[in-house]
Amino acid sequence: MNQSYYLPHTKLQSLLDAIIERGYRCVGPQTRGGTITYDDFSQVKELPWGYEDEQLPGQYTLKKTQKTGYFNWVNGPQAIKPELFKPKESLWNVTRDEEGKLSFQPAQLTPAPLCLFGVRPCDIAAMQIQDKVFITGTYRDERYAQRRENTLIIAANCITSSNNCFCVGAGGFPKAERGYDIALTEIEDGFTLEFGSEQGSDIIASLKLSEADGSQINYAKQRIQEAADKQTKTLPGTNLRDALMNNLDHPRWDAVAERCLSCGNCTQVCPTCFCHSEEDEPNVKGNHSEHVREWDSCFTQGHSYIHGKVIRSQTRQRYRQWLTHKLGTWHDQFGESGCVGCGRCVSWCPVGIDITEEATAICSDFINLENKENSHG
């Protein structure tokens, strides 16, 4: 086990300062419009001290409490995805000269070192999934890759779960295991800290912190365990590929389609969804054009449009595409599920559709049968 250090609340600013001194732009959680949003900051007083969120299917409430602590809330509609996979960005631009010659220029690649501060374990897991999409596959997204290489991750392990959280059921845990430079766990009057990289270790060393004592370490561990134990939602398995693909005509698809508005909120808030469209934005003179990409959703008409027809014209087909991909065929593509159990799609669905309930309704019979066969096998 990695060495644990103790950082009192009163010294959190010095951690932030040490990061900023090293040239990082810091982005961390702040309260905005009644939710938690990740945005630029440089002072710990900008963090959501004392805030708690309550999440239920289709409901999200953030409130200020008398409790001490920066990380008593769980998550907001977005965390770090927009910093790495931008909602909209130019990929390249092209200029046409008088003779009609085209000159293509890649969009600016000057990723300033970025510190993502207070990142939840599920969002780190989601980021690692997006790394597979944009970096480690056959083709590399240079801009995403460079941003990632210049990113310092300060994880904030969860000390509570919302009613919609199910990272444990999704195969994760409310403690970051990988993918961070420093991990914080908030205890009564400060944090325990662990480093996950040389960078992180350097920063911690520069703060001259004392080691966390046994009771602090135990309390941190206990709080994380409590967060895990608090989760009531779960998925019927961590690999639902076969269960879903063998149930493409399950009546539940029709039932959920009765409720689903095909609004795409679930895909917009999901930290692993990577669909995007590309489009041109020409100037008025017509001699220059920006080729931009923008987040898209499998719930739109255009997503499956092909010569005069929309392959997924019905909501049932769209919800089925989303769920079978996220929990099913994602395994074929990336060797794991596309769901980290953050619960956002449940909280931010305007009609409160709950992915865990849908997956359970569709998959349970298949799984029970499979288990029966195996035990008789």
Partner: protein
């Protein structure tokens, strides 16, 4: 810098009118180094970019070993293709590619090849068909089967007539609806599959066209006991990136852009012809 998404400039060397709303562009990269290094296989495609309008996926129809040009045959269906129609010789466009996995030609060598296409001029099979007839001796009997809705939909009508002179080739053309002078089969061309003489141990089939037609073709070929692993299908879905990033072309666990567009039947069987995927 090697940027996955960045097109290279290419020039239109020739523009050939093929039929109403169908034309072929012969292209060359303006940078000779890129042009020389560029190689592709039949069944692969490029992303063609029209200045200020957008990028689309278009198959490469020329022979991979022919000359320093490569051809794209485009049918006008919407915004970007309509824009391409306006271009003339000497105009510049953007190209990136080639992308995807083409037809299994090494595997097809020495075998009888059945090529089945439906709908309006199916570019991916044009490339493979030309490839085979240019290397006639490397393959066994060739059966070309093309189905169209209406006889007037058959583009390259004279070309079909000329194909008859190629040794050891069987041509089947059918139109669901036909005019008086239609020299071919009147009806669904796949009705002719049961009458074909096919050697199940040495036949490979390449298909492209509407999925319902390919489904019927798969079933008809199964009757001839041709192994599923010898049936290859060209799939098509909305595409934006061609590199497995944008998510538009997903077909179950496959990205049609990078894992396809050509698939062996077992690879896509699970979802094939299922509505909504």
């Amino acid at each position: 810098m090697d940027d996955t998404y960045l097109p290279n400039e290419a020039k239109i060397i020739e523009r050939i009118h093929e039929g109403p709303g169908i034309f072929t562009l012969r292209l060359q990269f303006t940078d000779p180094k890129i042009n020389e290094a560029y190689t592709f296989a039949p069944g692969q495609f490029n992303m063609l970019y029209l200045h200020g309008v957008g990028e689309i996926a278009i198959s490469i129809v020329s022979d991979p070993h022919s000359d320093e040009y490569y051809n794209h045959t485009i049918r006008v269906v919407g915004r970007v293709t309509r824009g391409f129609e306006q271009l003339e010789c000497g105009d510049c466009i953007g190209i990136r590619g080639p992308y995807g996995r083409g037809w299994p030609l090494e595997k097809a060598k020495g075998k009888d090849v059945v090529v089945i296409t439906g709908g309006l001029g199916c570019a991916p099979v044009v490339s493979v068909f030309n490839y085979i007839i240019n290397r006639r001796s490397e393959f066994g009997t060739i059966s070309l089967m093309q189905g169209v809705k209406h006889s007037s939909d058959l583009i390259f009508r004279e070309r079909f007539q000329r194909l008859k002179d190629i040794p050891n080739i069987k041509i089947y053309v059918g139109a669901d609806k036909s005019d008086m002078h239609w020299p071919w089969y009147k009806g669904r061309v796949l009705d002719l599959v049961p009458k074909m003489e096919l050697n199940p141990d040495n036949t490979i089939a390449f298909m492209c066209g509407p999925e319902m037609m390919m489904k019927a073709a798969v079933e008809a070929l199964a009757e001839h006991n041709i192994d599923e692993t010898d049936l290859y299908l060209n799939m098509e879905r909305n595409m934006h990136c061609a590199v497995g990033h944008c998510g538009h072309c997903q077909y179950g666990g496959q990205f049609i852009c990078k894992d396809g567009p050509v698939f062996s039947y077992p690879e896509i069987k699970e979802l094939f012809a299922k509505e909504g995927f």
